[in-house]
């Protein structure tokens, strides 16, 4: 069974997914980051493939992507790194990449190589769901890969239902009108949006992302939805870290702490 599906079958709430940029802070830190995240309780890991022109990303991920590219990381190398780390690791792994690097690699070839490297799903923000369903669904199925769709506060209900109907793994709930980045707390409007989604009776699990940065926002998001994704805040923690293991442990502990205590 696909590890993403297994995760959501076994765990219904407080799922914590962590995004990081492969090849950051060092070219060869990808494996250490994944091991540290697995060891310290991340339920799911999103491996960001850096792109030169990440239009859906805010400053933090733009900079980590730039640095990873300057470090010389490539999609080929990332897949090799993942192969090294996959042994014995049961945490679901996703690749998050813009479409252009994937097309250059070859989408079919990537599906094959990603599955071989132990990847469970892909998030491709600029691949329209319609085109995926029409052209790529078959190859994803062949390799038991999930393609994750995004929802935003602007997505009309009819489209939410469409995305849910075809949803695989989980739906990535973009928390606000924003690129990725760090926020201290969610507004009433955002909370109402999470709550509304939770009452729609969707079949695909919902995981909030963009703006989850601390124990408060993590709690707020997971109160109504199945889980939450942290990205920029973790990258900031890595940026300052001298020891990836320790930084990851502290970061995840703080995130899961009770904000009221």
């Amino acid at each position: 069974m696909n590890r993403i599906d297994r995760l959501f079958r076994e765990k219904k709430q407080n799922i914590l997914s962590v995004y990081f940029t492969a090849g950051f802070p060092e070219r060869e830190s990808t494996a250490s980051v994944i091991r540290a995240l697995g060891r310290h309780g991340a339920d799911m890991i999103e491996v960001g493939v850096p792109f030169s022109d990440p239009v859906a990303d805010g400053p933090v991920i733009q900079q980590s992507s730039r640095r990873a590219l300057d470090n010389g990381i490539t999609l080929h190398r990332i897949l090799e790194q993942l192969e090294e780390v996959r042994n014995g690791n049961t945490v679901p792994l996703l690749l998050m990449s813009y479409l252009n690097p994937i097309l250059r690699y070859g989408l079919e070839r990537l599906c094959h190589d990603a599955a071989a490297a132990g990847i469970d799903g892909l998030i491709i923000p600029d691949l329209p769901p319609e085109e995926y369903l029409e052209k790529h669904l078959k190859i994803f199925r062949e390799h038991d890969l999930k393609n994750i769709f995004l929802l935003t506060p602007q997505t009309p209900e009819e489209r939410i239902r469409f995305l849910d109907e075809h949803g695989e793994g989980f739906l990535y709930v973009v928390s606000s009108r924003a690129t990725t980045g760090v926020r201290d707390t969610f507004s009433e409007e955002q909370l109402a949006y999470f709550k509304r989604l939770a009452t729609l009776g969707l079949k695909t699990p919902l995981v909030a992302g963009f703006g989850i940065s601390n124990a408060i926002t993590y709690r707020q998001a997971t109160r109504h939805l199945h889980g939450a994704i942290v990205g920029s805040a973790y990258i900031k923690a890595l940026e300052k870290a001298s020891d990836i293991e320790q930084a990851t442990r502290n970061f995840l502990r703080n995130l899961r702490a009770d904000p009221s205590s």
Partner: protein, 397 residues
């Protein structure tokens, strides 16, 4: 606006293999709304009337088709210059900005954002925003802010906010990235007024249709000036492709008219300091559409270079990509030096200082042997005032 040529995109915005709308879900509602409404709005008679009046009374259309006698005798052929440089704000960009601001109004948007390279599209957008009393934010690469300073000052005087962009090479590509991020962050109230035939469907078609006024005028101007029905060739420079699309538009389905495009060779196609997308690009996705893109083997976009800020872009619009793939248009890389030489030549022979972008099209006269029987049109997309600092730096007085 004529609507039937064989070079229109299909329903999903594809010209052959190129085009489409590869946008993150955050932009889906905005792009979808535009896709659903743009044709109805463009074809609405009240829109057409208002647009036409603004083009004529405000922007100064029709622009002359000027038989350039001394340039013609220098090259031993017949050269006609389409004088987009004489429009209000000094480039063809105003044709598009006026059309899109009327569209934005009809969509009920209050805030306008734009990207700019040379600053001509930024100035055109700031101008139409001032004219309509709308708020205007222009993203501009920090390098371009330096090399096109007069245009930055113009935008500010017109009441626009100019935001320098420090990522990447700090040029046009990076300005588009930042404009897209702004749009993602403010999707409801904001209209993204794109300056060229790039971006997700329907922008390439929308901009091409608005710029098609250039060749619409040529359909009656050229016969009057030359006594012939059709020119032998039409020449234009290509950044994203808007002035080329506009001047080619009504000739696309007339195969006897050669369509010739000049892209920015920078220091030379082989030097790595270039923006020659057709020469070096491979199919890819940049800024929401599939087109030729200069990129490395790992799919990372290569930072482009050209002396001309308006051509300093690693992509090219889907219509132009399609014209290349089908062989309908021929593309040539023109270097900085060739463009600068053409600038000087036009200044001396005709008393016209072209924009460095337009000078790339003029430089084709050196590369392509035209005969005494040929009658060719060159789109003089803009004037060179904005480039004086750069021109003086390179060619002295």
């Amino acid at each position: 606006m004529k609507t039937q040529t064989s070079f229109h995109p299909d329903e999903k915005g594809f010209y052959g293999d190129f085009g489409g709308a590869y946008v993150p879900e955050m932009l889906y509602p905005n792009v979808k709304e535009l896709q659903e409404k743009y044709l109805d709005i463009l074809e609405d008679s009240a829109f057409r009337e208002e647009y036409r009046r603004l083009l004529n009374d405000y922007a100064g259309r029709p622009t002359p088709l000027y038989p350039a006698a001394r340039l013609s005798s220098h090259y031993g052929t017949h050269v006609y210059l389409k004088r987009e440089d004489l429009t209000h704000t000094g480039a063809h960009k105003i044709n598009n900005a006026l059309g899109q601001i009327l569209l934005a109004q009809r969509l009920g948007k209050r805030r306008i954002i734009a990207e700019t390279g040379a600053g001509q599209h930024g100035v055109a957008t700031a101008t139409v925003c001032a004219r309509m009393g709308m708020s205007c934010t222009v993203y501009m690469g920090a390098l371009d802010v330096q090399r096109q300073r007069p245009n930055v000052e113009r935008m500010k005087l017109l009441g626009a906010t100019v935001v320098p962009v420090h990522s990447g090479n700090q040029t046009l590509k990076d300005a588009v990235n930042e404009a897209l991020r702004d749009w993602i962050t403010h999707p409801e109230e904001t209209y993204y007024l794109i300056g060229s035939t790039v971006g997700p469907h329907p922008y390439p078609d929308l901009v091409a249709r608005l710029q098609s006024v250039i060749s619409e005028e040529l359909l009656w101007q050229f016969p009057r000036q030359s006594g012939r029905d059709l020119p032998d060739a039409v020449l234009a420079c290509v950044g994203g492709g808007s002035n080329a699309s506009g001047v080619f538009y009504h000739y696309l389905d007339k195969p006897q008219v050669r369509l010739l495009a000049a892209e920015a060779g920078g220091q030379g196609v082989a030097t790595g300091h270039t923006a020659a997308t057709i020469a070096l690009g491979r199919t890819g996705i940049l800024h929401g559409c599939r087109s030729y893109v200069i990129q490395d083997d790992d799919g990372q976009i290569t930072e482009p270079y050209s002396v001309s800020a308006g051509l300093d872009y690693p992509g090219i619009g889907p219509l132009l990509s399609h014209l290349h793939a089908t062989g309908r248009a021929a593309f040539y890389a023109v270097t900085d030096d060739e463009a600068l030489a053409a600038t000087r030549l036009l200044a001396r022979l005709e008393g016209i200082i072209p924009a460095l972008e337009s000078a790339h099209a003029l430089a084709l006269l050196e590369k392509i042997p035209f005969t005494a029987d040929d009658h060719i049109i060159i789109n003089l997309s803009g004037r060179g005032d904005k480039d004086m600092e750069t021109i003086l730096k390179h060619i002295g007085e």
